[in-house]
């Protein structure tokens, strides 16, 4: 593994140098060395502006470096250079203060128009609320009554190296955000706990998710496709593990997806009225636990001492059922413990609580039904 990666790295370094030498500006490497060009009108504007400023910088840089290098080669004592005595010139100073200023003005014009377009969220066709959680995203379709969480699906074995890493390592989720093409979509971005930042490079922007405040951004896609991004603002331990997957669909496919989501919601509601066996609850609870709890309390329930308490042997998970239901549903103010009552449905809450009491080294022996959770709401 190591030797292979090293060889690949050296090959690519060599490859980059060879390509540079050939004057072939990194052909084949353009997707890993330059700004993502993106798929929207705004992202293209941002890309063009990036290239404009980049080339201005390159031209000035080459000019300055050329003078420096010429001077280093020819104005050496060992070449017999005698020092000149000039040490000031107001004219020169004025010239090289004015020219950079004018160059900046030239840059500022397209920068201003691009910024105004990027920030113009008026006249949107639909709105999706994006909420950051430690460490997942929640999407609420404000016009459709659809709401779901989106969590990383890369298995722990791949992260820890006991399984080979798949193609979409760390950029795959259970429920991607799905949007229609040819619609102006406004994103309302906020957070439930700390500051996150919602970033899909192909859209051309990122926007911070600030708890208690709502920021906005917009996009309009023209081609169906899958676009991947990541949380961009440090948000705690698993900041690197809360990716974004956005799927753009044609209007017909999007309508079918909406119908499917609504059907699934109805099935969930029906399941909540049934009485569940303990084994079924524990089985379902394990997957709910791994998705929602394991990041902090760890897959084995041991927690991280001093940061995240253990579930195994904890007074809450082995004590009074009502207290356990309360902390899972309502969270604990002033800590990272979230109020899962607002995030999970009755079945999942009942399942995960039952799992915590009867697995992970605990054996309270009791269980809670979805109907009990409904009553506790």
């Amino acid at each position: 593994m190591f030797a292979n990666t090293l060889r690949r790295a050296l090959c690519s370094l060599w490859g980059a140098l060879v390509l540079l030498g050939a004057g072939n500006a990194f052909a084949g490497y353009s997707d890993t060395i330059n700004l993502v060009k993106g798929v929207t009108d705004i992202s293209h504007k941002v890309y063009d502006l990036h290239m404009l400023v980049f080339w201005i910088c390159v031209v000035v840089c080459v000019g300055v470096f050329a003078v420096l290098i010429y001077s280093i080669i020819y104005h050496r004592k060992s070449k017999g250079a005698k020092p000149a005595t000039f040490h000031e010139s107001t004219t020169v100073e004025i010239i090289w203060t004015t020219i950079p200023f004018l160059v900046l003005v030239v840059m500022a014009v397209p920068a201003t128009t691009t910024l105004l377009a990027l920030e113009d969220t008026r006249d949107a066709d639909m709105s999706i609320q994006v909420t950051g959680y430690q460490w997942k995203w929640k999407y609420d379709y404000l016009d459709e009554d659809i709401s779901f969480f989106s969590v990383l699906t890369t298995p722990r074995e791949q992260i820890e190296g006991s399984e080979p890493k798949s193609e979409n390592y760390l950029v795959e989720v259970d429920n991607p955000i799905v949007v229609p093409i040819n619609k102006k979509i406004r994103f309302l971005i906020t957070s439930n706990d700390v500051i996150h930042s919602w970033w899909v490079p192909a859209l051309g922007w990122k926007q911070d998710a600030v708890p208690g405040f709502i920021n906005d951004g917009w996009t309009e896609l023209s081609e169906p496709g899958t676009y991947r991004g990541k949380c961009a603002e440090l948000c705690g331990k698993d900041h690197g593990f809360m990716p974004i997957v956005l799927i753009a669909k044609t209007e017909e496919d999007y309508a079918a997806w909406v119908a499917e989501q609504k059907g699934a919601a109805e099935a969930d509601a029906a399941a909540a009225t049934q009485t569940w066996s303990m084994d079924d609850l524990i089985a379902r609870g394990e997957s709910v636990y791994n998705t929602n709890c394991a990041a902090c309390h760890q897959a084995n329930g041991a927690g991280i001492p001093g940061v995240f308490p253990a579930i195994t042997g904890s007074a809450i998970a082995t004590g009074d059922m009502a207290g356990h239901v309360d902390i899972v549903m309502n969270g604990k103010a002033g800590t990272a413990m979230q109020a899962f009552g607002a995030q999970l449905n009755d079945v999942d809450l009942a399942a995960v609580i039952t799992f915590q009491r009867n697995a992970l080294g605990n054996s309270a022996g009791d269980m809670v039904q979805p109907s009990d959770i409904a009553a506790a709401r």
Binding site: N34, V67, H75, R76, P83, E93, T112, P211, P305
Partner: protein
């Protein structure tokens, strides 16, 4: 003759033993203490960087867990900024400013002792958080609320206290420098005759006095939010998390100039010496430094383009920010013009200074790119930013510090460093730092966020190259430790003048500089 002997007995040399260092009020001793403290912190912070690069060597979690990784990025930043770069600059100021302006010592020598001796305690407290339950601070060196308040480990209160103490130290150091520059100049040393290093530090000291209390304010607000029920940064209590960023960056942006302006000063001393030609545009250099310092107060929110600022605010901060390119460009042009038609030699200090000009220019250009608000929407919080600020602070400030050490160490120790080893150190560092940080531009643009312990597969190759460069760069600084110790122990004896082209009062005294210099003020023509 007999009076002279009595006089000498009173002005004896350095006392011996440990208490010399604890009780010293001598600017040279205190300068040495600052420089050694900074060097130790550079190695501690560097070791943390090695942990970071080891974890990022390949995809997957191999070396540390994500929480500890965040602690490493946080502590690396804090230690390098507050423990390595800033104290190193104060060390240079202590050694050089009195000698450069013909003063016998700093204006406030006892306070000088205190402002140093706070540092080891603050530094130890900061590092000790690593061993506390729950681990050290893991919220980034920018410690954004509410991650650093509601969601932070218990050790955060020790971090807050350490920052307060570091602030006291910096403010006292700054007061001392201003008092020294204003009151202790030799007759004839007018302000506009001062060496540029003195000028840049004089301006930096005002920045420090202006913004360190703001930093103290923001950590105090954190302290009360955490422990006394206030809600400055908690929306649930009527506060605003973004307020934290406004207050922090009002400190944080001038802070980056606090680190780079004295570097400009060091480079502006070295280049004329080895070009054997006066600094081009001395007065425009002074004005450019002052302009940069002024602008630093009114551009800070360019760190916050993605926080949801109103578009008018974004436009203002974009225009103000890109304006900084003008005085910065003037500085680079002036250095270039100083070298132009000089009679240059390339001893080790000159190599570092020229390396600084090249690499700082690259860092300056990426800074300009990020000042453009719409493109910053893509660059923000990616490795492009990491590459940018390491080009200006590692290839910039650190290169200037290393160059300054080579430049003045003959004056400090009386011994020449080994030229061959110095050159090896430079080329080793200059090549490896580019292998380390240049690829980070690529992965940042391609979409890799900063402060992540693991990454998707398309970033694997460049991360590995970057890590290899990182290990080489780290090793080069251990080599530097060896060079410094070797120079202190012995070497070719340095003359008072040391460098053929050097000008200034510090070169008129013997090498090593006597324990007390300029007890009688020199006359500056």
């Amino acid at each position: 003759m007999s009076t002279a002997t009595t006089h000498d007995e009173h002005h004896h040399g350095a006392p011996s033993g440990l208490m010399r260092w604890v009780k010293t009020t001598n600017h040279k001793d205190i300068g040495t203490l600052y420089l050694w403290f900074a060097f130790i912190m550079l190695l501690v912070g560097g070791a943390m960087a090695m942990v970071i690069r080891a974890e990022l060597f390949q995809p997957g979690m191999q070396v540390v867990d994500p929480q500890f990784f965040n602690t490493m990025t946080t502590m690396h930043g804090l230690i390098m900024v507050f423990g390595a770069i800033m104290p190193a600059m104060v060390g240079f100021a202590n050694w050089q400013i009195p000698m450069m302006i013909g003063a016998p010592d700093m204006a406030l020598p006892r306070m000088n002792n205190w402002s140093f001796w706070i540092l080891p305690f603050a530094g130890t407290m900061l590092v000790s958080t690593l061993f506390m339950e729950g681990g050290g601070p893991a919220f980034g060196w920018t410690f954004y609320a509410p991650l650093s308040t509601t969601f932070a480990p218990a050790s955060t209160d020790f971090f807050i206290f350490a920052v307060h103490m570091l602030g006291f130290s910096s403010i006292m150091g700054a007061i001392n420098i201003i008092a020294t520059v204003l009151n202790m100049r030799a007759p004839g040393m007018t302000l506009m005759k001062m060496p540029l290093f003195v000028w840049t530090w004089f301006i930096t000291a005002f920045l420090l006095i202006a913004v360190m209390p703001v930093l103290a304010g923001v950590v105090t607000m954190m302290l009360t939010d955490r422990n006394f029920g206030t809600s400055f940064f908690d929306a649930a209590g009527g506060g605003d998390p973004v307020l934290f960023q406004h207050v922090f960056w009002f400190f944080g942006h001038p802070e980056v100039y606090i680190m780079i302006l004295p570097s400009f000063g060091i480079v502006s001393e070295i280049i004329p010496t080895f070009a054997r030609k006066k600094l081009f545009g001395y007065s425009s250099m002074v004005y450019a430094t002052a302009s940069i310092a002024f602008l630093s107060f009114i551009v800070y929110a360019h760190h916050m383009f993605t926080t949801g600022m109103p578009v008018a605010g974004e436009l203002y901060f974009m225009y103000a920010t890109i304006m900084i390119a003008v005085p910065t460009a003037v500085k680079v042009f002036n250095w270039t013009a100083t070298m132009w038609r000089g009679s240059m030699t390339f001893e080790t200090p000159m190599l570092w200074a020229v390396g600084f000009v090249f690499l700082f220019t690259i860092g300056g250009f990426t800074g300009l790119m990020m000042g453009v608000a719409p493109t910053d929407m893509q660059y923000h919080d990616t490795y492009f930013i990491v590459a940018h600020f390491h080009y200006v602070l590692a290839a910039g400030a650190l290169f200037a510090i290393l160059g300054g050490v080579y430049y003045w160490i003959p004056k400090w120790t009386g011994n020449m460093y080994n030229e061959r080893l110095g050159k090896i150190h430079f080329w080793w560092s200059a090549i490896s730092i580019n292998v380390l940080f240049f690829p980070q531009h690529f992965i940042g643009l391609a979409g890799m966020p900063r402060r992540i312990p693991d990454y998707s597969l398309q970033f694997a190759d460049w991360n590995m190259i970057s890590s290899l460069g990182g290990f080489a760069f780290g090793l080069a600084q251990i080599f530097f430790l060896f060079i410094v110790i070797k120079t202190i122990k012995g070497g070719e004896k340095a003359s008072g003048q040391v460098w053929e082209g050097a000008e200034g009062l510090e070169w008129t005294v013997a090498s090593p500089a006597p324990y007390h210099t300029f007890a009688t003020a020199p006359e500056v023509k």
